[in-house]
């Protein structure tokens, strides 16, 4: 039986320590209260949980395997490395864990229209997919720049029956698509459900998305007990907004310090933190407010949000979820960053050694594992979240690596 776990945070005001909250125009406050109430009720309703479990199993393909990467382990010569295979899910990434949950909640609330923001298009495709599954009207906002770069995903969404609206404002990327989705929600709040794709945004989204994604860590818990008789020593995941990482971390993060594995979140250092062209909100950002949440954020001396950069469009977001911000301050998880170049090395390495082409997002986790795994003992166990598959990135990789192969 699927269970949506009760974590100690956020507090009733939607805060993880000082982070989170609801910094949105007043028009949305009643809607957020409604979503929160509906979610709390659904979470305790066996019928809802049963239905979610049914679709996760029969439509998305859960549980996902915990795969022993023997050649990679041997190559690094340290801890034993296991990959959590979220890349095997329907639509190619962990995003579907959350979109199924939110779409079922939308249906339960009687909302027939869903909207979403998307960067590279993975979340958009995932929302378009569940909207088709449940017969809902679907509008996806996508920055003009991303529409151009990700033509294939735009076509996928259209094929699935969604309307894709290009956003010409600001930097024409994910942050602007999110602004536009929020504006749509403000305008159609009575009929529309906003399916947010990461652990960001106003309360209850960071909590709700975390809960839906925590199936990743819950499975890792039971799979580790079965395979090793204990929890892993370290968990590694890429962090943009932070949904795949929180999904893996959350079930372990609130364990007493002695029982908790080392939790390592890997941000995108882009062309290098010193160049200013990166997406490392924790590594190089300051506390601020964007899209309704107080969190680590990239902005200039006047508070104007600065565009993020990463080779991986899924990490290309100038903020990071409030719970990650809290974990960073409390030392519950450690946050590091790897460059575009290092991530591309990880991308190639996994393809050659294990026959798995990872998403460029997940390649960041591989690239950092390359630094820490060799330092660990052979009897230690590391789990890397392989949050998505690399099919979507092959064209970009061909452009960047073509000459080298």
């Amino acid at each position: 039986m699927l269970r949506l776990p009760d974590f100690p945070l956020p507090d009733p005001r939607g805060r993880f320590g000082p982070y989170g909250g609801r910094y949105v125009p007043e028009t949305l406050i009643p809607a957020l209260e409604e979503v929160e109430a509906a979610y709390q009720e659904a979470k305790r309703d066996p019928a809802f949980l049963e239905e979610l479990a049914h679709y996760l199993k029969t439509f998305a393909g859960r549980p996902t395997p915990l795969f022993h990467a023997r050649r990679l382990s041997e190559y690094w010569g340290g801890a034993r490395v296991y990959l959590k295979r979220e890349d095997l899910l329907h639509t190619g990434a962990h995003k579907i864990n959350n979109t199924l949950g939110q779409a079922l909640l939308a249906r339960r609330m009687g909302k027939r229209r869903v909207i979403a923001e998307t960067g590279a298009g993975q979340h958009g495709v995932s929302v378009a997919t569940v909207a088709a599954l449940f017969g809902m009207e679907c509008v996806v906002y996508m920055g003009e720049e991303d529409v151009r770069r990700q033509a294939l995903n735009v076509f996928r969404m259209k094929l699935l029956g969604a309307e894709v609206r290009p956003v010409a404002a600001g930097s024409r990327t994910l942050k602007d698509a999110t602004n536009e989705a929020i504006r749509d929600w403000i305008t159609h709040v009575r009929t529309t459900f906003y399916i947010l794709g990461s652990v960001v945004g106003p309360h209850p989204y960071p909590m709700m998305v975390r809960d839906f994604q925590s199936v990743i860590g819950e499975e890792v818990k039971s799979q580790s007990l079965e395979l090793f008789g204990r929890y892993p020593d370290a968990l590694i995941a890429a962090v943009g907004g932070g949904s795949n990482a929180i999904g893996l971390f959350a079930p372990f993060a609130y364990l007493p310090a002695g029982q908790r594995p080392r939790l390592i979140g890997v941000e995108a250092a882009g062309e290098g933190l010193s160049t200013g062209r990166h997406a490392a909100s924790i590594g190089a950002g300051k506390r601020g407010v964007l899209h309704g949440s107080y969190m680590y954020l990239l902005y200039d001396h006047d508070g104007q949000i600065t565009p993020a950069h990463s080779v991986s469009a899924g990490l290309d977001y100038p903020g990071v979820g409030p719970e990650h911000s809290y974990f960073a301050d409390q030392g519950i998880a450690e946050y590091v960053s790897v460059t575009d170049e290092e991530a591309l090395e990880g991308f190639k390495l996994l393809a050659r050694l294990e026959g798995i082409i990872p998403a460029l997002e997940s390649a960041h986790a591989i690239a950092h594992a390359a630094k820490v795994v060799p330092e660990m003992d052979k009897d230690q166990i590391v789990v890397i979240n392989l949050s998505g598959r690399g099919d979507k990135d092959v064209t970009e990789a061909m452009r960047l690596l073509g000459g080298e192969l």
Partner: protein, 259 residues
């Protein structure tokens, strides 16, 4: 002139107060100051927007204006100087409309004190539901700034009661479920929202979002004040004079539709 006096004067003349909104630094630094001179004779109070990179409560017109102002180099320091210059032109109440992140970036105490010194009367904070940060609201008030918050057609009685508890100066009633932008007609529910807010507070209530001319102004005139923003900014964008729009709106305010 205090905010209370500005609303009282309009009331004594049997009309709603007129509150023009302009984005600081749009269409340029000088163009903004010219626009201020153009609107001041019609204005009872003035709202000045601090341009922001991610204005999620604003429609396309004010988004474009903010982008242009920022591209032309407008900064928080620049807005401070503009507020100071506008203060030298008028003693009417001046409200700064700003999203929260620039306040956090400068540090709330520094930001509030400097704008108070520059001559701002108060703040309008569209992405701060006041109960999210009561200490910040108190700080602004202690520094001498009035704090204006938005209420919307979707606001419940409980939200209205909570939000007006933090308001000083006036209360901003959003006419539509939507973002800023001129509209042909306001939804009828605006006529319910104003009395619903009045039942909770003695403060003046100003209606904003969507007021574009005579007809919408007549609808909004059930309130104590009417904010006109996108219609003016759109005219500036097109290089049209602002006087005729404001005269048309004044005409509408005199022809208040029955509640």
């Amino acid at each position: 002139m205090t905010t209370r006096e500005a609303f009282a004067r309009a009331k004594a003349e049997g009309r709603a107060a007129l509150i023009p909104y302009l984005t600081a630094g749009f269409p340029s630094r000088e163009g903004f100051l010219e626009a201020v001179r153009e609107v001041l004779p019609y204005a009872d109070l003035l709202e000045i927007g601090l341009p922001y990179s991610d204005p999620l409560g604003d429609g396309p017109v004010i988004q474009r204006a903010s982008e242009t102002a920022l591209r032309k180099g407008m900064s928080v320091q620049g807005v401070l100087e503009l507020v100071q210059e506008v203060r030298a032109l008028t003693d009417k109440p001046l409200f700064l409309m700003t999203y929260l992140n620039p306040v956090l970036a400068w540090g709330p105490e520094r930001f509030f004190s400097l704008f108070r010194q520059a001559g701002a009367t108060g703040l309008i904070l569209p992405d701060l539901p006041p109960d999210e940060d009561p200490a910040l609201v108190r700080l602004a008030q202690e520094i001498g700034l009035e704090t204006v918050f938005l209420l919307a057609p979707t606001s419940t009685e409980r939200r209205i009661a909570t939000v007006v508890g933090y308001a000083t100066g006036f209360v901003y009633a959003v006419s539509v479920t939507g973002v800023t932008g001129a509209r042909e007609r306001l939804p009828e529910e605006v006529k319910d929202l104003v009395p619903r807010i009045r039942a909770h507070t003695p403060l003046p209530v100003a209606v904003g979002f969507g007021v574009s001319g005579r007809a919408t102004a007549a609808q909004a005139a059930v309130a104590d004040g009417v904010v006109v923003g996108s219609a003016l900014v759109r005219a500036l964008e097109a290089g049209h004079p602002l006087g005729p729009i404001l005269e048309d709106i004044q005409e509408g305010l005199r022809q208040k539709e029955p509640a």
